[in-house]
């Protein structure tokens, strides 16, 4: 029986040095910053009319409130717009990442080498999966936060930011866990990349269709729902729908991850 790893940090470092070496992380940071910047200046295309009627009867409270609300909406919209942009690229990046760090390693025998060390299979899988989630989640959050703090000064609506960030992380967890299951089931880098990309883009199309039940839409793309909620617009979803999307995506992600661990323990390496 293999003993638990003594130093989880060493496994993390090994994984990081092998799969996240220069310029992988730096390239992702650059791509995400570019998407976030384009989204922010896209939001700046909007504008709002103002007027002042000098005189003793002038009361600017209503106009000040609408200008403040406009600033709050611009910040939330810019943040949400970045997250929506990331959703498109994540549906492409996550299958590629897992094809490289997990599925492809079945083929070249790296997993066999890893498991010849006293490392539990479940621990190795968790390190690989959490690596993808932490790297992509952190970079995406950093990119969108840096844009609103650099380019939209003033107070920020913490609730809106927290809601969209939670939706972003839930989406990453859902996609990573689902693709992990595909990686272990196929044990092929090419198959994981192709099936993963097609599956997640198809899921986005299903999530965008009005014919799809609202709960399924919310779970498949919680970012879209959270963005609509914070940015406002013609159709604003209920907050409960947003919560259902975020929690639902996380629950499905955890279930997929549990199934992946179970399968990974049984699969022949």
């Amino acid at each position: 029986m293999k003993r638990p790893p003594e130093n989880l940090r060493e496994i993390w470092e090994l994984e990081f040095n092998q799969f996240y070496s220069f310029p992988v992380v730096e390239g992702i940071v650059a791509i995400f910053l570019a998407i976030a910047f384009a989204s922010t200046i896209g939001i700046f295309g909007s504008h709002m009319g103002v007027y002042i009627e000098p005189g003793p009867t002038w009361n600017g409270t209503a106009v000040i409130e609408s200008v403040s609300e406009y600033r709050r909406t611009v910040t939330a919209s810019a943040y949400a717009s970045s997250a929506l942009g990331f959703a498109q690229i994540l549906a492409f990046l996550i299958p590629l990442f897992l094809a490289s760090t997990l599925a492809g390693r079945f083929e070249d025998g790296t997993l066999q080498t890893y498991l010849s060390y006293p490392i539990q299979r479940s621990t190795l899988l968790m390190v690989k999966v959490s690596g993808v989630i932490v790297v992509l989640g952190t970079v995406a959050t950093f990119a969108s936060l840096s844009m609103i703090f650099l380019f939209i000064p003033g107070s920020k609506d913490a609730f809106s930011i927290l809601l969209v960030t939670s939706a972003l992380w839930a989406f990453i967890i859902l996609l990573t866990s689902g693709t992990t299951l595909i990686s272990i089931a196929t044990r092929s880098g090419a198959a994981t990349a192709i099936i993963g990309i097609i599956l997640w883009y198809a899921a986005q199309m299903i999530a965008g269709s009005q014919a799809t039940p609202s709960t399924v839409r919310a779970v498949l793309n919680p970012i879209s729902l959270a963005s609509s909620y914070v940015a406002g617009g013609l159709v604003v979803p209920q907050i409960t729908e947003v919560y259902v999307g975020i929690v639902g995506a996380m629950v499905v992600g955890v279930l997929a991850l549990t199934a992946s661990v179970f399968l990974f323990e049984k699969v022949e390496i």
């Binding site: 940071v29 570019a34 200046i41 295309g45 000098p54 600017g60 000064p153």
Partner: protein, 168 residues
């Protein structure tokens, strides 16, 4: 430790270069227009990452006063119902057409306000576009790239200084 520092300097340099590159992403333009009565101010609030290019037109008017305010001055003007006590970034009179660059000191929300110079109702029209590069992102890019490159040079120098120590 040295390799971690090297990685961080590479990351910082990449971030800086990204900001320099994205500062050349075009952002399009927009152009509202309306009538404004004498003694009142009308205009629009917009966001800017860097300098903006404005094209202002007025038709059949004797003169149109134009003011550009930052967010703080705008809220102060809205509160007081007057531009007194504000420090506009730009204040000009337009007779028929004006085209020029307005320097934006820092990214944020700004307002452009119009009021007729004489007792008449005037139609104003403004086209706002953002010349490239977006100065806000460009300056951030310059500073961050410089920091990253300085870090790389420092690490190189430190590495060269350490070699004689190893040989000793």
């Amino acid at each position: 430790m040295a390799s971690a520092a090297g990685r961080i300097t590479k990351l910082v340099t990449m971030i800086g270069i990204t900001f320099l590159l994205v500062s050349f992403i075009p952002s399009g333009s927009f152009g509202p227009g309306s009538f404004v009565d004498y003694g009142t101010y009308e205009g629009t609030v917009f966001g800017a990452v860097g300098n903006i290019h404005v094209n202002i037109s007025t038709y059949n008017s004797s003169g149109l006063q134009v003011y550009v305010l930052d967010y703080d001055d705008l809220t102060s003007a809205l509160e007081n119902g007057s531009l007194e006590g504000t420090d506009p970034l730009m204040s000009i009179e337009v007779l028929s057409n004006y085209s020029g660059i307005i320097e934006i000191p820092h990214p944020g929300l700004y307002a452009i306000l119009f009021t007729p110079t004489y007792n008449e109702t005037v139609y104003w029209d403004v086209q706002i576009s953002r010349p490239l590069p977006h100065t806000g992102a460009f300056h951030v890019g310059l500073v961050v790239t410089a920091l990253g490159i300085a870090g790389m040079i420092l690490l190189k120098v430190e590495g060269h200084l350490r070699i004689p120590d190893l040989q000793r």
